[in-house]
Symmetry: C3
Subunit: 277 residues, 3 copies
């Protein structure tokens, strides 16, 4: 299988926030093993217990990092119960995460080059022996990340290569009889923008696309500034998925839309006018 | 024009928060170009769409950083619409920001040594070519910051020196007929302290100054601990502006005061007593 | 007294949040003095004005960091009024904090190896001279931390060794007549888990322990996943204290319990059944 050539950079994605030193402690564990590691904090206020939201952002962030980066994601409501840890290789980088759906958004796009299911029996040889029931970020993820990012072990040292991954929680996109596409809101960002799982390419294949969400029909625009303050718009966002926004406001609040809500995009224009009449 | 001697340190000020990996992705882009850069996170929960609040803090933070630091600020509600990016040189450091009023608090104090308006036509020679409509932090600011902070380009390489800056949104301070000064609350900190644009020097020129805000008259104290828990006070804060605080509480909540609210400071003492009678 | 062998790593624990650049400015001050320092952010959203909460987490985090780490904690409602700063040596690491109860959780466990009370008269020789009334994090803690972490000064250079520490605010654990233990909720984490000051060893000494909190009697479990979604449980958490949690929910919200609330753990089992009848 592909070799992971670590560059010493570790990114962290968690739902730990900044009120407790959980992220800091993970870094302490890593630095105690590998003092020269460097860290990038990705997201620490991912919605609690929403691995798929974390996975969506990771799948979109990967391409902006240098080869050899190790990404660690700990959004893990099943901590302490039987669930595997996995390492995915993608884009010359590695991702360490629980197998709880977090890596589904990456996998369904076909971006995973290799996948290793971590064998708990291999942990002891890396000194990962004192494992609490509730903080595997500190007791398992951090020590393994330190070994991987320092180049002292390879994914293949930690378990067997597998092909299947847990994809629960990641909603499908479906084709509509009118030629449109139906998807789901998979993330809401700090500005209240509603981010869907509908890929840009699918939207662009439609003539004069119209976005349907929460009973509204919205045109597709290029950027937030193209409509008046307070108005809603659909757009292909900078991560290449369909998004619904409100100019200088929160679409999530204004439309009372939450993660999981349906969204559709349908062909518009004259043809559509005739169909409706 | 003055040369920027980069020290490899980049600070980031945004309204991106920690729920999505927007800040992390900016760092990824920079590290992919310049692996040895170091980062300091300044503020990532600046009020959304309030460039001036970000700019106020940057203008006050600058003096505490070593020469050669590059400060990047992305509070940019106009992203994707025509608005320039600028680089300001000040205090042997450089600031990269949108020209949307963010640099006004620095400029109005006369602290900008040189100013460059970035010419979009120059971006291509630095490989800044794949620019989305909605995430210039990642697509423009980060790559330019990496080049500047690594010493591979100078501000003057990116555009022409200019003298004018957008100062919209930054409120003026005015003299009152009673010899006092009227200003505005420009920021509210996490503790609910109300921070004004009235400079310490102007307050100190008054004899026995009394602060007027939200219908209250407050004495000027040296520190929070000088009044009882729950009481209000005016003080010259550690950034050398007039602030209104509540001991071990939130002045913003207690007084129902928001950003933009008026504040005045007037001469008090015996003379004032006579004037009032 | 014990020597502090600095490794160049500084951790920061504050109640400053990410809305203002207070943490960033502290790092700027340190880097201006010692450009090679590295930082780990521990917690920046500690409950405002709650030194003991910060101290609880620090006392539990220490063991995960490498020898030579300097931990700086600035949760300091008394800033600008007379209160000492102290340096504690513990676990081959150093902690710099105000003497306001913050170090009590560490001290009461007997983990402090040596304690220095900083003598303000010594500050001038380290260039700590321009001290505001309200931001000692920037004006005192940061410069001293830079000197200590760079190995340019020892705790003993800054003041005299002392033995007594302020332990106000740290609640005691008491024995009950039924053989159980009564303690207090000392922290609530982001997930709403209720964290007590009752040590694991004391709980484990009881046969079939039952947790009493907010009128409920809860069994002791190993991890969150062992009960159904929405149910409450007691557990020994990964920091070796008694915790009350709600599976995939917030115990703090569900039970309306705040910091300071009482919690007890009593022996259960058959014997207890007989006693109750």
């Amino acid at each position: 299988m592909a070799v992971f050539r670590a560059n010493g950079l570790v990114t962290l994605t968690t739902d730990f926030g900044w009120r407790e030193p959980f992220v800091g402690i993970m870094k302490g564990v890593m630095l105690a093993r590998s003092p020269h590691l460097r860290f990038v904090d990705m997201a620490h206020e991912v919605s609690a217990f929403q691995p798929v939201e974390a996975g969506f952002w990771m799948s979109r962030a990967l391409r902006y990092f240098p080869a050899g980066t190790l990404h660690v994601a700990v959004v893990d409501p099943g901590v302490g119960t039987p669930r595997d840890l996995v390492i995915a290789l993608a884009n010359e980088q590695a991702l360490l995460a629980p197998d709880n759906g977090l890596l589904a958004p990456l996998a369904v796009r076909g971006r995973v080059d290799a996948l290793v299911r971590i064998n708990p029996a291999r942990l002891v040889q890396y000194g990962v022996t004192d494992i609490s029931a509730t903080f595997h970020g500190r007791d398992v993820f951090a020590p393994l990340a330190a070994e991987l990012a320092a180049g002292r072990c390879q994914p293949a040292d930690l378990g067997d290569e597998v092909t299947a991954l847990n994809t629960e929680g990641w909603p499908p996109v479906t084709a509509r009889v009118d030629g449109g596409i139906s998807g789901v809101i998979v993330a809401i960002d700090r500005f209240g923008n509603l981010i869907s799982n509908v890929e840009a390419a699918a939207v662009m294949a439609l003539s004069d696309p119209i976005v349907h969400i929460a009973g509204m029909r919205l045109p597709l625009r290029r950027t937030y500034g193209e409509v008046e303050k307070g108005e809603y718009l659909g757009l292909i966002n900078s991560f290449e998925v369909l998004e619904v926004a409100r100019a200088r406001g929160s679409a999530a609040q204004g439309l009372s839309v939450a993660i999981g809500a349906p969204i559709s995009v349908v062909p518009g224009g004259l043809a559509a006018q005739f169909r409706r009449s």
